[in-house]
Amino acid sequence: MKSNSRRGFMGKAFGAVAAVGAVGSLVAMKKSWDPLPSVKAAGFTTLDMSIYEEGLMVTEKWRGKPIFVLKKSAAVMEKEKGNAAAEARNIKIGNDNFMVAIGLCTHLGCIPAFREAEGDFLCACHGGQFDASGLVTKVPPPRGFDIPPFKIEGNTLVLGEVGPEWQTMKDNGVTL
């Protein structure tokens, strides 16, 4: 009787030890699926902001993702005036105003197309629309384009580095 319960206890104890090993190996398995250091370190993108033309959307690349760069015209700026959400997203470099954002629909990650005539973005996947400052004008996307971490250095913009302007945007919930 006594030895029986001892055997039962030892069985459970053995099970527990085995479980520790299994969980330990799960940690290793999880870690093996993490992005590799070389992937994580994959550089910073530096953009020379003086080369863009007004109203002409240019797609740059940062960490494999498309980055929309749109230099906003005076007319667009006029339209944005008073729209706090749009103003908060504006990136000012010298006297120029830019929309810089990750060019992936915040719904499911398709790349919306820029419609030059309308000056806005249309996502072909599920019909979402964004205006020139990257805010949603038609659902399903839950929020405007995300803004990549950036740092302004004179006339250039370094993507991937956190500058004070971006930190402010993040703190205010302008971007994620």
Partner: protein
């Protein structure tokens, strides 16, 4: 220790060691199947054959496929399609079988629903079948990544993004699944592993479970009749083959299976050689380009109905309902509260539920492919709501059902 005697024949030698005669009886000649069935009961065998076609063609593709983002597209479209002798055949068989297997799975599923083959001890058959459905879906999706065409890449992007959980914004989880910020080498490598090793292993295990689940409750029949298998099989063995309600699996039922398989294969090879376009989307013959979304992104046809449940709503509700649609079929045996285990045609309101569900899923499937605008998006929205409502209503209408 067992006692061995000098073998009188090869068969005897094997019999002493492996009990092959007993195995043959248990698996085939004395595995009893009701006679009151129709060709829909052969879908299991059709699925086995299709799975075998997938495994064999897959083995030959695997020998030349290169799972790297630079080489994958060319290894499929140049090496396999142009250089390997009959490589094109393996690829077309594999692609068409992957699509057709889902058609047969859906027929198999709706057969089970119609005849109530998930009730009265057959719950595990249904549940293991639904687990197989999930495993096959994973297999199909991971396989679709491998040619690394535009649709591979963008389907991979969209589907992995689902794991961000909408407003939960679990980007870390998405990046963990991909092993990168976007689908890239790590992503292709792990989906290749899933497709050729882990998921096929799971499928084979689940097929074993699915068959094992059939042993005790036996196969259902066209009228949901409860058969005394012991008495009926005794009748058969005593020589009254005509009077018995059951027959042997082999060769009796097997011969009918093979007849259906023969007809199925005519259809299958017609598709493979002359109408393969539906299974091999043109968009996927453009190499993957992370900076160019195709004009229309849609999954393969068999995922369309659940994809459409995702689309018309905002992201959080869409994801929740999508999750609901993915798992709800598993719970069918418990949501159907009726004690009647007979064909839907004799079950009152459930009859309408069955045909309604079939039609709603076809409508969802069609709307899932069409561009999400105007009337299509409205129809899709209503169909999705009806789909959800029908599942909510199922326990109610089945508990009101009169006991037969």
């Amino acid at each position: 220790m067992a006692h061995f005697t000098k073998a009188t024949s090869v068969k005897d030698w094997l019999n002493q060691r492996l009990a092959i005669e007993k195995v043959e009886k248990v698996m085939a000649s004395e595995y009893w199947i009701p006679k009151n069935i129709n060709f829909l009961w052969a879908m299991g065998m059709v699925l086995v054959i299709t799975f075998a076609l997938l495994v064999v063609s897959g083995i030959f593709l695997l020998m030349y496929y290169v799972p790297t983002v630079d080489e994958a597209f060319n290894s499929v479209n140049y090496t396999i399609m142009r250089e390997v002798d009959f490589g094109w055949l393996w690829r077309h068989v594999h692609g068409v079988a992957a699509s057709v297997v889902f058609l047969v799975i859906y027929i198999h599923m709706f057969t089970g629903i119609y005849y109530g083959s998930y009730k009265k001890g057959r719950e595990m058959i249904w549940i293991s079948g639904m687990l197989l459905f999930i495993a096959f879906s994973t297999e199909a999706f991971s396989g679709y990544m491998l040619p690394w065409g535009q649709m591979s890449y963008w389907a991979g992007m969209v589907i992995t993004n689902l794991f961000s959980g909408g407003s939960l914004h679990a980007d870390g989880l998405v990046e963990w699944i991909r092993g990168d910020y976007v689908p890239a080498q790590a992503f292709l490598g792990r989906f290749f592993m899933l497709h050729v090793l882990l998921v096929p292993l799971a499928i084979m295990g689940l097929i074993g479970l699915h068959f094992a689940a059939l042993r005790i409750p036996h196969v259902n029949n066209q009228d949901g009749e409860e058969i005394d298998f012991d008495a009926e099989s005794k009748k058969y063995l005593d020589g009254d083959k005509v009077g018995s309600k059951v027959m042997r699996f082999a060769n009796d039922f097997m011969s009918k299976d093979m007849m259906v398989v023969g007809i199925f294969l005519i259809f299958f090879f017609y598709l493979t050689f002359y109408n393969y376009g539906f299974a091999m989307d043109p968009v996927n013959f453009d190499p993957a380009d992370g900076l160019k979304t195709p004009a229309h992104i849609y999954p393969e046809w068999y995922f369309l109905w659940s994809y459409e449940i995702l689309r018309p709503f905002n992201i959080d509700l869409g994801l929740a309902l999508f999750g609901f649609a993915q798992v709800i079929f598993v719970f069918l045996p418990f949501l159907d509260r009726s004690p009647n285990s007979v064909p839907a045609s004799r079950r009152g309101a459930f009859k309408y539920w069955f045909w309604g569900m079939l039609i709603v899923m076809i409508v969802l499937t069609a709307m899932g492919k069409l561009p999400p605008e105007g009337i299509y998006s409205t129809i899709g929205l209503y169909a999705a709501i009806i789909f959800i409502a029908m599942w909510v209503a199922l326990p109610i209408i089945t508990s009101l059902e009169k006991k037969l």
